[in-house]
């Protein structure tokens, strides 16, 4: 399948099988490796990207479903050399250890805040529960999201 995909505001022509996961289109075809493979089953959230501003698991999203859509990855969050408020808050709270889950965490958090500017702690936990941080930095991630919400 030959299609246009819009990633971080840029159009790309991609040739890939329609069933190929968006994750591998991003990582292999477009060399956007900030989006991570964690399980391939939609269970860990490491591959989370935004599709039309909503969080999707790119490992379960076929190329055919992403074609023509606006995709935002971790590489596209920074604007004019300035970190997105959620990125800044993660950095400030040091809401990571190994950092492998961080891209997915940040995009899930951005999607949450897009729809709910001031989530309660319960709402944060509910929205983020599909993302695994095996290092266990959950309390810091919750703090970072609250901090970003206050600034946003």
């Amino acid at each position: 399948m030959d299609s246009i995909i819009r990633v971080n505001g840029k159009e790309h022509h991609v040739t890939a099988p329609p069933d190929q996961p968006l994750l591998w289109v991003l990582r292999d075809n477009l060399q956007l490796t900030g989006t991570k493979y964690g399980c391939g089953e939609g269970q860990c959230g490491a591959c989370t990207v935004l599709m039309e501003k909503r969080a999707v698991r790119s490992c379960l999203t076929p190329f055919s479903a992403a074609a023509g859509k606006n995709i935002m990855t971790i590489e596209g969050l920074e604007q004019n050399g300035e970190l997105h408020p959620v990125q800044q808050a993660f950095l400030h709270e040091e809401a990571f250890q190994c950092g492998y889950c961080t891209s997915g965490m940040i995009l899930s958090a951005v999607a949450l805040l897009n729809g709910n500017h001031h989530p309660s702690e319960d709402e944060i936990v509910h929205a983020m529960n599909g993302n695994i941080c095996r290092c266990g930095t959950y309390p810091r991630i919750v703090s970072a999201i609250r901090q970003a919400a206050q600034k946003g």
Binding site: K36, Y37, L77, Q87, F96
Partner: protein, 708 residues
């Protein structure tokens, strides 16, 4: 024990040893003649060669004593530090930089660490056993002090003054009298600092630290929030192919037939077979998955035990190989006769998985008989030697590089993915990258050992423990001895020829032994009618242990509220690898055995704190991870197959499992710094089990405590 000597390192290493290999290569006859230089090598010698290699590496080469091997100052003043330790999320890239910055009198920002590149850094046994802070920290501080003294000496000579009249600060040597000043770069002109360290130059005491001891942020933190950092799975090389391994239908399986006709029909596919090892390569991940799916194989899987029979199996199969005799003090049998309270109980822990979010992966590239491999491992030099053994080339022909890795927790000691990528790359004649799937992770990575622990004890009615026996079957000897003062004791680890491939895990068996011991201490306290905290304090004179118990009790408000089903309290503590900890858990026990951990308070003392924010992060993370092993993580298996190899079936802690966590750091600036990546995990399981008992009267002696 903080392992610092050769003997201690050997002891530590023996506990990290992974038993059993995934692959034995015969290699092609042509390959093998080439590698063996035309000589004759019989296949049986492969195992022997590898075993000798493993034995030799118990004791590593002498560490270089010259400054230039560890540290380089460029003309622009940038400092490069070389270490064989690797960054897997424990934040040592930052904490080591802080210690160098402190002694060298430069900013953290001017330091770069080259870590885990076997061609560039001094030999290192590996990043495990919480050894980085107690061993690599002082090593690099020593080098930094020596470098600073050299720089003072160079300036003193240039200015014709005594070095003791000069000051090193902010990357410059200054003469306070003349206000003359030279940057380090101006003094060295980028020349190597050639000096052999002799004696014991004095360290800056922790009470005077300016940079160490501060909550310095992760040095390259921005790269992690922007997705810029390249982990091994993100690396590419020109012409690189993707590789996949055809996994056997079960453990200990042998390949009875392989039909690769359909796979070979696909474009750009290479099928590699070497004995029972079968793999495929393709230019992209999609194609390689199709090729793997097109292979038709039949395997013979021998009958094997299931997790239901595990505990009886471990007891029945103990001590068949090498066993150490028990450590005995006094006479347990005599003391038991005088005991007024007697208890004997059995505890157990399940097999669990590290489940690091970055799966095992490697990128391998051959140039002639030289091999370069990028892989996320805790032991780059051991993986180098493993590769050299597998491919029968000298270790100096192998270069292993470790990009900062997406966690390990003791699970990345060996080079399985590296070996696989290198074997496929050899056959394909191009660089090959292998990334394990989550199912491969849950099945083919080694496991945290399961174990059975039997404790029997005797105490007087006044709460004095007089006799103690502790027998651990299979899970390991770490932290097996009790920190309480008991005159008569018998302690023994019983190794087992285990049914699953097992190895190191964060804290090793300290988790299992603390779970059993601190649960048993709680049982004894209740039997003696004493408060569990007072009972522990009565039986220990270890000041550091007493201090963390008292600190945790104060922060948690211990004893201020009676336990009920809705809110009950449990306490546990101990020490391991130079760290002392005490943990209080508050839990809510709902109907039908449901459970929620509401709050965890942990007091931790690991000597002088190098980075309080990084340390807090480690302690919080260890508690969060420990909740998984305590409550619900368990590998289920039957006949050589894993029954729950997915995150949907193997539950790990998630946001909804998060309690309120309060960490109390006891900063002992008068004591050397100990590592902290492991020990904070050992208190949470017994604290929760003891809280459940306090709330419900139900004593749970098997980890995981709740299956749901």
């Amino acid at each position: 024990m903080i392992p610092t000597s050769d003997r201690e390192l050997a002891l530590e290493l023996s506990q990290h040893q992974v038993r059993g290999r995934l692959h034995w290569f015969e290699l092609g006859r042509r390959d093998f003649l080439k590698l063996a230089g035309g000589g004759i090598l019989i296949c049986a010698s492969v195992r022997q060669l590898t075993a000798q290699e493993a034995g030799r590496m118990r004791r590593g080469p002498e560490l270089p004593k010259d400054v230039a091997a560890w540290l380089y100052i460029a003309e622009d003043g940038r400092v490069t530090v070389f270490t064989g330790k690797v960054e897997v999320g424990q934040n040592i890239r930052t904490s080591l930089a802080q210690q160098v910055a402190e002694e060298l009198r430069v900013s953290v920002g001017s330091i770069s660490l080259i870590m885990g590149d076997t061609d560039v850094v001094p030999w290192d046994a590996g990043t495990f056993g919480s050894r980085t802070t107690p061993t690599m920290g002082p090593q690099l501080r020593l080098i930094a002090v020596a470098a600073r003294e050299m720089l003072l000496g160079i300036a003193a000579q240039a200015w014709g003054v005594d070095a003791s009249s000069l000051v090193a600060a902010d990357g410059k040597i200054t003469n306070p009298k003349t206000k003359q000043s030279r940057t380090y770069g101006e003094l060295t002109h980028g020349q190597k600092l050639v000096k052999v360290i002799e004696g014991d130059p004095p360290f800056t005491p922790a009470t005077e630290w300016q940079i160490a001891g501060q909550p310095v942020g992760k040095v390259d933190g921005t790269d992690f929030v922007t997705g810029k950092h390249a982990y091994t799975p993100d690396m590419t090389r020109p012409g690189m192919l993707y590789g996949k391994i055809l996994r056997p239908a079960g453990f200990k399986a042998s390949l009875t037939s392989l039909d690769d006709g359909a796979a070979k029909q696909l474009a750009n596919i290479t099928v590699v077979r070497d004995g029972d090892f079968v793999g495929v390569t393709a230019p992209d991940l999609w194609s390689v998955e199709q090729a793997l799916g097109a292979l038709k194989a039949e395997w013979k899987v021998p009958q094997q035990i299931s997790d239901r029979d595990l505990l009886s199996y471990l007891k029945a199969n103990a001590d068949k190989g090498e066993s150490e005799p028990p450590t005995t003090t006094g006479s347990v049998s005599q003391a038991m006769q005088s005991a007024e309270i007697k208890l004997a109980q059995t505890y157990s822990v399940a097999y669990i998985q590290h489940a690091p979010l970055e799966p095992r992966s490697a990128l391998a590239e051959w140039q002639g008989d030289k091999l370069t491999v990028w892989t996320g491992t805790q032991r780059p030099f051991a993986v180098r030697d493993e590769l050299a053994g597998m491919f029968r080339i000298p270790p100096q022909n192998v270069r292993v590089l470790v990009p900062d890795t997406g966690s390990a927790y003791g699970g990345k000691h060996i080079g399985d993915a590296a070996v696989e990528a290198a074997r496929l790359a050899k056959a394909a004649g191009k660089p090959v990258k292998v990334i394990w799937t989550r199912e491969e992770e849950f099945t083919w990575a080694y496991f945290r050992p399961a174990g059975v622990i039997e404790i029997s004890s005797g105490a007087l009615r006044n709460g004095t423990i007089v006799a103690w026996q502790h027998h651990n079957y299979n899970s390991g000897p770490a932290a097996i001895d009790t920190p309480y003062n008991i005159a008569n004791k018998r302690i023994q680890f019983h190794p087992v020829d285990a049914p699953l491939r097992q190895g190191s895990y964060r804290g090793l068996a300290a988790t299992a032994n603390h779970f059993a011991r601190e649960s048993h201490m709680d049982e004894l306290a209740h039997a003696a009618g004493m408060d569990p905290l007072q009972f522990r304090l009565k039986n220990t004179t270890d000041d550091r242990l007493r201090a963390v118990f008292e600190a945790v009790a104060e922060k948690a408000g211990w004893g201020k509220q009676k336990s009920s089903r809705e809110r009950s309290f449990g306490i546990a503590g101990g020490f391991e690898k130079g760290g002392h900890l005490a943990t209080v858990a508050e839990v809510e026990s709902g109907p039908n055995g449901s459970l929620r951990v509401l709050r965890v308070v942990e007091a931790f003392d690991c000597g002088a704190v190098v980075n309080p924010n990084g340390l807090r992060n480690q302690v919080e993370g260890a508690i969060m991870m420990g909740i998984g092993g305590a409550l619900f993580e368990a590998v289920r298996f039957e006949n050589g197959r894993i029954l729950n190899p997915h995150f949907s079936q193997y539950r790990v802690p998630r946001f909804r499992d998060m309690p309120q966590i309060d960490v109390v750091l006891v900063d002992r600036k008068d004591l050397p710094s100990a590592g902290a990546g492991e020990t904070p995990i050992v208190g949470i399981a017994p604290a929760i089990a003891n809280a459940i008992f306090a709330g419900t009267g139900e004593r749970l002696r098997a980890m995981p405590l709740r299956k749901g």
